[in-house]
Point group: C2
Chain length 292, copies 2
């Protein structure tokens, strides 16, 4: 998708510009932040934010700082999730995890610094200068979706569920927090910064929630059906940690059908935008058929 690539280039350029300048002679943490941000992420969340803003008639270029903030938060969460005391993963996106390259202490601090820097990126964005009240609403939303009531809450449920068989409803709660909350933040912040009406904002939230669920189901499927080289991390890690997944609870065929249903629901939520939502529709379809 041409528009995806154009978003991607702008996001990557701005992310580089937004990294802090460490003036003391201890570059480790800045290097670790850069290493983790450069790790070949799909940049789905910042793209969702920019496109949601554009779709609601907003100044999406002015929202670039918020898009980068979201990617920094997503990246910090991966750095901390991979720590020995958490999921203890050595590989991430085909490269050694941050704590393997820089050590555990630096990985904790690099994650902390990415999370902190995210809010600077948001507060210093053009959107913050032009529409300060909307920017403050968006910062509050960002914090809520990333915090104990959102993404971090999902990680807590995840850690508590290791080695246990959990009910499907609990798996859905966990994923809606762990993966869904930042997807939702992406689309809702885009709408908020654009000053969208409630109908459009609610439609984007519905889209994001269904998309987030589909995304997590496909993740679970790929952990079983992919290979290490394509996926960039060892496959079968869910089974090894005895984690309940959509595949372990539903079986592969029903998990695939559920991913399809969620993708359809996401696409369906976009009706209010008519033909202009073609990009978000394609994105949902592409995420369902992805291989990594």
């Amino acid at each position: 998708m041409k528009r995806f690539d154009s978003y991607l280039e702008m996001i990557n350029r701005r992310l580089t510009a937004l990294l802090p300048v460490c003036t003391y002679d201890a570059p480790d943490v800045c290097d670790a932040m850069r290493y983790s941000l450069d790790g070949g992420g799909k940049r789905i969340r910042p793209v969702l934010l920019l496109e949601s803003c554009r779709l609601c008639g907003g100044d999406w270029e002015g929202a670039l700082g918020f898009a980068c903030a979201l990617e920094m938060i997503h990246t910090y969460s991966l750095v901390h999730d991979d720590l020995p005391c958490m999921d203890d993963d050595d590989m991430r996106r085909g490269k050694p995890a941050c704590h393997i390259v820089f050590g555990e202490a630096t990985a904790v601090l690099a994650g902390d610094a990415l999370l902190t820097q995210a809010f600077a990126a948001a507060a210093n964005s053009e959107a913050a200068k032009k529409t300060p009240a909307r920017a403050l609403e968006a910062i509050a939303l960002l914090s809520k979706c990333a915090g104990a009531e959102g993404m971090i809450g999902g990680q807590v449920v995840d850690l508590q569920s290791e080695g246990k068989t959990i009910a499907l409803s609990r798996l859905q709660t966990m994923d809606s927090l762990k993966t869904g909350a930042l997807m939702r933040a992406a689309c809702e912040i885009g709408a908020v910064l654009a000053g969208a009406d409630n109908e459009k904002r609610a439609a984007l939230v519905r889209y994001a929630e269904a998309l987030g669920q589909a995304f997590q189901i496909v993740d679970d499927i790929l952990d079983v059906t992919s290979d290490e080289k394509t996926l960039g991390k060892p496959i079968g890690s869910d089974a090894e940690l005895q984690k309940s997944t959509y595949v372990s609870l539903l079986g592969l065929d029903r998990a695939k059908a559920a991913a399809k249903d969620c993708t359809a629901a996401a696409i369906d939520a976009l009706n209010v935008f008519g033909a202009d939502a073609a990009f978000l529709r394609s994105l949902a379809e592409n995420l369902m058929t992805r291989t990594s």
Copy 2:
């Protein structure tokens, strides 16, 4: 000090109200956040923020969300600093450290959640509603002072200095980042939210920087001269980690003289405010003569 107690009560009440509501059945992280915030902190940073705002003629009650944000950030930094992969401290303020009570994974997440929640507290503050542009400037400042160019940078230098004798200038750099940055944030954010002129803002920054340095020197002195019960943590921990301190580099007498000089410099910086700065003057003197 009567005003200190009145600030303290408001800060503690608001901190409790600002903690997130964890709706899923995994209360650990919220409990760990509460445990760490309740840990008997002196609340110096939020008090500095409120008083700086009042001194510059601002609506200090409207700044309460920012004051709590600062205390959450300070608290998260202690939780992460105590982790086994960092300073590996088992005790904090006379109580078992967060990771001892809740485990390492929950301590990482509770720290992350406190840092995240801090920005929600700032973005949802009354100051943000009434003066959004100032609030955004204050959020950017908060992020800069807490991040890789500020407090986190100081922790990096600290970790790299363990077991080494470092020069006094490097110790000063480290402390001005690790302790000074948040003190500075407190006073400068108070000024920014009040819409203070440059002279007053610069005076408060000078005060905060000198106060932060005095504070750290006294910390180093107490680690040698206090006892475990009064201090709330084992004494001699700096020597055990072979950390360079003001005492190890200057000797006890010269360290005491340096603390006195810094306190005098802090008080001197307040001249522009005249008699109205009595509270901040007393605070500087009390911090110099503290025993814990």
